[in-house]
């Protein structure tokens, strides 16, 4: 089977992991415009990293790595590169046909609180929690972060406790 061209692979990844990029960007920024800038920067870094992708790790692991590495090193002034451009991606809210509107509101509120709590976590813990919430296995988390699986377990337990505490605090805030 022939390797897809970088352009084709990039488009495939956009389709599959666009949501992941957005979630990481949202977790590491406060403002909507910063979130867009960071998401575009992550996509740019994914494009840059494509020639080095050799398929030894899964595409999702690769995308998470690039996204987290970019988000952790990102500074607002770096977003200026994208600031003058028309936003190329826009998060869009979709109606959920299954759950009731009150259920949707509840879930959205929970998600908002989750983002608020994640932003208060130390950056490494935030990365761990993001991967956990996206349902990655311990092995995948270990691959993305570059730590042992047992270490993932220990750290995740701590991070979950911290997250629960922060969720309570966020819920109590007016």
């Amino acid at each position: 089977m022939t390797e897809p061209s970088p352009e084709t692979r990039f488009k495939q990844w956009l389709e599959e992991y666009g949501g992941t990029v957005l979630k990481v960007a949202r977790a590491y920024t406060l403002k909507a415009e910063d979130c867009q800038d960071l998401a575009q920067e992550i996509l740019f870094q994914i494009w840059r990293s494509l020639p080095r992708f050799q398929g030894r790790s899964s595409a999702s692991t690769w995308v998470y790595r690039v996204a987290l590495n970019t988000a952790l090193g990102w500074r607002r002034k770096e977003g200026r590169r994208w600031a003058r451009q028309q936003p190329l991606l826009e998060p869009e809210e979709l109606p959920d046909p299954v759950s009731s509107s009150s259920g949707q509101l509840d879930q959205r509120e929970v998600v908002e609180r989750l983002y608020a709590a994640i932003r208060q976590l130390p950056k490494a813990d935030a990365a761990l929690v993001l991967l956990y919430l996206d349902d990655l296995s311990y092995r995948e988390i270990a691959e993305v972060l570059g730590i042992s699986e047992s270490n993932v377990g220990v750290k995740l337990n701590r991070a979950k406790k911290a997250l629960a505490e922060l969720m309570k605090e966020v819920a109590n805030e007016p």
């Binding site: 990039f10 740019f44 494009w47 990293s49 690039v66 998060p91 869009e92 950056k123 956990y132 349902d135």
Partner: protein, 338 residues
């Protein structure tokens, strides 16, 4: 709410939100950005090396065009050293930079190493970037001061002013670099160390981030004292020279003056051009030439000079400073001045 419920809500957001994007447009934009980015990074990395290397022919040209003392050429090795150091460092450390697809831990480690190296470079900017050209400039000023010591206190003050100006510029560059270390690199390094500590094994997790090159984070007073000492020595030497009555050597300027000045001077000594024919406005602006002309005319006007025979002076063509006797262009026959 238990963690599994949180997970459910989190994953449900994917079905509530999606990215609206034009993949082709985004791809084009990303590719365009990649080109801009590559050019930007290339020029950021090479601009100082290129600037240093471009200065070398300028220095050589100026040295040839305006006869300047030999110490002027010390700037050439100084610039080559600075440019070479930056180029070598760039080539050496380019390979060890972080890659976007590395695991988070490795990425943080390589970023921390890179930042630590940047801190080291900027903290030591005095030694590898500022001092070599600084010494060359000081040597040049020192030599010029020595050659113009007949000018007395005014010359001393002028040269001292130049030295202080250069020192102020260099101090400004040094301060800017240290400011960048304090305001950007050190916080970034601490942040990376915190991240590293967060990703370390549980047993190592409690390590507190240390300061890069701890103990040297405060500006090194010795460096400043060293620099001030050099400036002080030079200023002191200039002052001593101005106080001591060492033989007036305005004629030394003739050794540095361009050939046309030497021709003009020899013609004047020869008597073929009257002093009145050379107005103030016709005096060249070049410092060395100006001094040479002043020396040439003042010696003949204020002292009872007997110009050397024209044959010995060999005016106009093929003159060298020794041919017209720049060391002593005219012999004094009477000590009295009119």
């Amino acid at each position: 709410m238990n963690p599994d419920d949180l997970k459910k809500s989190w994953q449900a957001q994917t079905s509530h939100a999606r990215l609206t994007l034009d993949a082709d447009l985004l791809l084009k934009e990303v590719q365009r950005n990649q080109r801009t980015f590559t050019i930007l990074i290339f020029w950021r990395d090479v601009r100082e090396v290129v600037a240093s290397l471009l200065m070398v022919p300028v220095i050589l040209y100026m040295g040839a065009k305006i006869p300047l003392p030999w110490s002027w050429y010390l700037l050439v090795p100084a610039l080559l050293w600075g440019g070479g150091f930056m180029a070598a460092d760039w080539v050496w450390h380019k390979r060890s930079g972080p890659e976007p697809g590395q695991s988070l831990r490795r990425h943080v480690e390589s970023s921390a190493k890179q930042v630590q190296h940047q801190i080291w470079l900027l903290r030591n900017v005095l030694w590898w970037y500022l001092l070599p050209p600084g010494f060359a400039i000081l040597a040049f000023f020192g030599q010029v001061a020595w050659m113009t010591r007949a000018g007395g206190l005014k010359t001393v003050l002028f040269v001292a002013g130049l030295v202080l100006l250069v020192a102020a510029v260099f101090a400004g560059i040094y301060w800017l670099n240290q400011h960048a270390v304090r305001s950007e690199l050190e916080p970034r390094y601490r942040e990376l160390q915190t991240l590293q500590a967060g990703l370390n094994d549980a047993a190592e997790g409690g390590d507190s981030p240390s300061n890069p090159g701890q103990g040297t984070s405060k500006p090194n007073k010795k460096k400043w004292l060293g620099l001030l000492g050099i400036i002080g020595l030079l200023a002191g030497a200039l002052l001593l020279l101005s106080l001591g009555d060492i033989a007036p050597t305005g004629s030394r300027w003739l050794a540095m003056a361009p050939p046309w000045i030497i021709r003009l001077c020899s013609a004047r000594l020869d008597g073929s051009i009257a002093p009145s024919r050379i107005g103030r406005s016709s005096l060249p602006t070049n410092c060395a030439a100006h001094k040479a002309i002043r020396h040439c005319f003042s010696r003949q006007v204020t002292e009872n000079c007997t110009p050397r025979p024209s044959a010995a002076i060999t005016p106009w063509d093929g003159l060298s400073s020794s041919a017209i006797g720049v060391a002593e262009p005219c012999s004094i026959t009477a000590a009295t001045t009119p």
